[in-house]
Chain length 416, copies 2
């Protein structure tokens, strides 16, 4: 079962808007056994869109299209789909009702004809009701191929995928089971890891695919397999995992389950243990707090943070002593550890993370080289820190710094 994702919009092709929809759709399809053959982004251009539809129809069973369903003149997807299917647009009363209700509830501006026009859909389409917005999803079939058109607004598209598209695909097609299992590995580079497991990799059965995914200081090793018997597929992959684990034991950190970022693994551990954490961030500027609080339920283990970006605020807000800063530099193990200890006391938590460093591109209030960062972990009865050199790329230093901090904290939590 193959699918292609087509995202439509000039904004994607000029790099003004990042296409996050494709990744979401790809993940959702993979989960139910549909392989994504290709992702294609094209301009708001009728000829090109028609060509993309034709190419996709030649290669796949399911085509998921997003974008171009808005009320304005540059939104041409619906008309182009009607043309591709030799169809005309007709008024759908249920969509019209939905538009009027949404307007009444949320919108203060006047309801215009262009908004009402969004209730027109191809006569052969099955409407997928969008309760979060005025552009309906549409499901079309042709020669046993399925075309689905969804709005480009991410949360509207996501709800339609989950509530309408996925159940309908499962109903129509007999999909196989696709399994991806990803091992999280810290402290081994890509080639060192590959050398270590070479004999195992050479003996992998052909139907199990292996991928190496380097990611800012950690490696992800992904095994993929597919089959109609879920139990057999799982057993088969598990045997290979059992064989590789002894080879990488000291570097293996766990599995990346769906959405299992390292902050989520920490969240689960802390929730399980009933423990709490706070952060004091300088060079990471709130990135660690933001990653904790992105997840629902964060308030049960994350108490808060002090972003002491300015040196003076490390003294005023966190209570780090001016002497410690003067004696050691603001980018130092001593300051990181003092920040961690003080924020842990301030928020009365079990654990605290602190970061201080230079993310660059220029040196800040210290003479340390750009990319230098000290990360400290405080618990109720100890504090320790580590120094990292994370290169000279600002965004990389911030993200890698956050990853390293999560890694140190997780190691500490797992000791209990």
């Amino acid at each position: 079962m193959l699918a292609e994702i087509i995202t439509i919009g000039d904004e994607l092709l000029i790099g003004q808007v990042l296409d996050t929809n494709s990744g979401f759709i790809a993940k959702a399809l993979t989960k139910i056994g549909v392989s994504v053959y290709q992702i294609t982004s094209v301009q708001d251009d009728k000829t090109h869109i028609l060509k993309a539809f034709k190419d996709a129809e030649n290669h796949v069973d399911i085509v998921i299209i997003t974008g171009g369903l808005g009320p304005t003149k540059d939104d041409i997807t619906k008309k182009t789909i009607a043309e591709y299917f030799n169809d005309t647009l007709v008024l759908d009363e249920s969509v019209l009702k939905n538009i009027k209700e949404l307007w009444k509830k949320y919108v203060r501006q006047t309801l215009l004809q262009v908004n009402l026009d969004q209730a027109y859909v191809p006569s052969k389409s099955k409407v997928l009701m969008n309760t979060l917005g005025t552009a309906p999803g549409m499901w079309m079939e042709k020669n046993n191929k399925v075309f689905v058109s969804l709005p480009g607004v991410p949360y509207e598209m996501e709800a339609l995928m989950e509530n309408e598209v996925i159940p309908k695909i499962k109903e129509k097609f007999h999909c196989p089971f696709i399994l991806h299992r990803t091992l999280l590995i810290y402290g081994l580079g890509e080639s060192t890891l590959a050398a270590r497991i070479e004999a195992w990799e050479d003996n992998l059965p052909k139907h199990i695919k292996l991928a190496y995914l380097p990611d800012l200081g950690r490696m992800r090793l992904r095994l993929s397999s597919v089959g109609f018997d879920e139990t057999l597929v799982r057993l088969d992959v598990q045997q290979q995992i059992d064989a590789v684990l002894p080879l990488i034991q000291e570097a293996f950190f766990g599995f990346e389950d769906e959405d299992d970022s390292i902050e989520n693994i920490i969240a689960k551990q802390l929730t399980k243990l009933g423990k709490t954490v706070a952060t004091a961030e300088s060079c990471t500027g709130g990135k660690i707090a933001e990653r904790f609080t992105k997840n629902a339920g964060a308030s049960s283990y994350f108490k808060g943070s002090v972003i002491s970006y300015a040196t003076q605020s490390k003294i005023d807000v966190l209570g780090v002593s001016k002497d410690a800063i003067d004696a050691n530099s603001v980018v130092s193990a001593q300051v990181a550890e003092a920040m961690a200890t003080h924020v842990q006391e301030l928020f009365k938590t079990d654990y605290a993370i602190a970061t201080t460093g230079n993310a660059g591109p220029t040196k800040g209030d210290s003479n340390e080289e750009v990319g230098t960062i000290y990360i400290a972990i405080a618990t109720k009865n100890k504090v320790f820190s580590e120094k990292f050199m994370l290169g000279n790329h600002r965004v990389k230093v911030i993200n890698k710094g956050a990853n390293k901090a999560f890694e140190m904290l997780l190691k500490e939590i797992l000791k209990n």
Copy 2:
């Protein structure tokens, strides 16, 4: 001048890794007058990659390829390119030297044969030296079409684009000038805006393209044009902007120049005025601080933040009175304003932003409906707040909340 971007890697097609490279490359190409015709993501599969190369060659002048250049067995891009060009791989001494130097400087693990093998490149290729990593970029030509292969690691790819690919394209091709100007509009919905400017839009010359880009409570209106005379193109678009501005005056906020997110516009204003800001964030959880500090130079205007996620921390760290919380609920105008005032005093800044609300999915320490958020702005002599209902999608509430906060702050700064 047309280009296609081909990103290679199973991780993109299963939704494990988000393709951010295409957006970066698309923006860089657009800037020098190269139109991106299509972005295509394909699996690590030789047949499919070869097909994608052929399709691209039929439609465009420049093909930019990323991914699949690592040292492990799933990295097949280099071999596939050699096959496509009927070429063989030969050792490049300069790349070998670069690999050895990188290893000596940054890597503690043993240098292996697979790492040295990365110095093999197609004999017909021109090497684009990657000083940040071991996989070199490669420039190939065939029938006056250019193929460029770049590593998938974003910061390595970005450096190669900026330092090697863009200058070489400018040298080889006579590119036109492409202008995109985007108007930032707040407080007018997509259809209301379209109705307001309909007569103007209908009279736009055919060669100027118009796009509506809704984005969490704001609209972006983009005018695009292309031509070989930069002055004429600019003048032409400016005339249309001059004609539309009077129609949307009260809602027009400025232009989105390259990378001009609202936090960057604020950064420029604050830097110009020599003013500073701090934040106190509850439901936005550090998102506002993180967006400020992502940008180089943030330390000159951003002093820091208190993420008072737990209610108790609003009392302990920020000094909000328990009575105010008990009397008004922790999600209230009074608490938001107290948070703003206190954090402004704590960090001794000119401005402060505070947020308190329920991002959901469940109610927290208050009875306010999910999606309710109060945002306060404090200056040295006043404080005010506004209430927003931002729906029931957690990530949307956080991001839209941050946008609203930036919007309120910018309005206040612009009063001076």
